[in-house]
Symmetry: C2
Subunit: 147 residues, 2 copies
DNA sequence: GCCGAGTTAGGAACAGTTCCTATTGAGGCC
DNA sequence: GGCCTCAATAGGAACTGTTCCTAACTCGGC
């Protein structure tokens, strides 16, 4: 689950370049927060990143970790998984279906597709565990938001 | 975005049957919470459901709405979108990739698949908005949790 | 109509995230 | 290399969404 040294170095370079291009300061804190996410494939949560960064920068604050992660996401160096709005949403449609999500307003629309329902996933996944469901998330900007 | 009366009736029947089968009380509050989710396709959040249910049951508490939604989810009458753990997780892999998610421990593993990358989504989606990305979420139980 | 287990209302507690403000330090300029 | 300025930080307070707690209530069986 560890990223190769070579890959980590490349990611750090991309980070430094982004800072220079955007006129942002490559502070010690920012470098260490990015490094922690860049060196693992385990998709750590904020608490985990905070704990690990504190080993190298004992005075770092949780808020700095949050601010830095948001900045890095905005600049396209990281992506955020899942919590999209922070609010749970519910759906009484229990048939198999997929979702179109507007990334601007958060609106979600269902769609069904037989073709997508019998998608075959790569064979390697079988060795990772039992597959229970395959769900396709299509992201974009809905017609209303596009204006 | 409204569900047909016929469909709502069928969903309410399924709810009543589930209560009988599981020995749960079909209280006024539970019926109205379920009805609010069953009658719409807009995937409302808890706050929205609460606000609507209060019009019919002014004394209902927010906690009851939460409890009822969790119960209905557990019984398979509703599904919860997105917030999976409530925590944000980050990934420095910015190449296009998909996720295998263990629903027991929350572990996430990346996988790449050219075949999935050029999935074609139903044509109707084009009229809903601009599609920016297609992301496949495979859910299941990972080898570690399966034991 | 009465009883008891299951359910609820309301508020307190909790967890994750964001905001606020005084202080600090990165990086351009001499 | 040292100085200066403003962006960035630490630390704690505030906020938001969710869950827990307990006394009161109510549904459904008697």
């Amino acid at each position: 689950m560890a990223v190769s040294d070579q890959e980590v170095r490349e990611r750090m370079d991309a980070f430094m370049q982004m800072c220079r291009r955007s006129g942002l300061r490559a502070t010690h804190q920012r470098r260490e927060v990015f490094r922690e996410v860049a060196r693992t494939e385990e998709h750590p949560d904020v608490e985990t990143i905070y704990r690990r960064v504190r080993k190298r920068v004992p005075t770092v604050s949780l808020d700095t970790v949050y601010r830095t992660l948001s900045l890095l996401e905005e600049k396209g160096l990281l992506c955020r998984l899942e919590p999209f709005s922070g609010r749970a949403r519910f759906d009484a449609n229990t048939d198999s279906h997929h979702h179109f999500i507007c990334t601007r307003c958060g609106r979600v629309r269902d769609f069904a597709s037989e073709q997508l329902d019998d998608l075959s996933v790569p064979r390697e996944l079988r060795s990772w565990g039992d597959v229970r469901s395959v769900h396709v998330q299509v992201r974009g900007i809905c017609a209303k938001c596009r204006g």
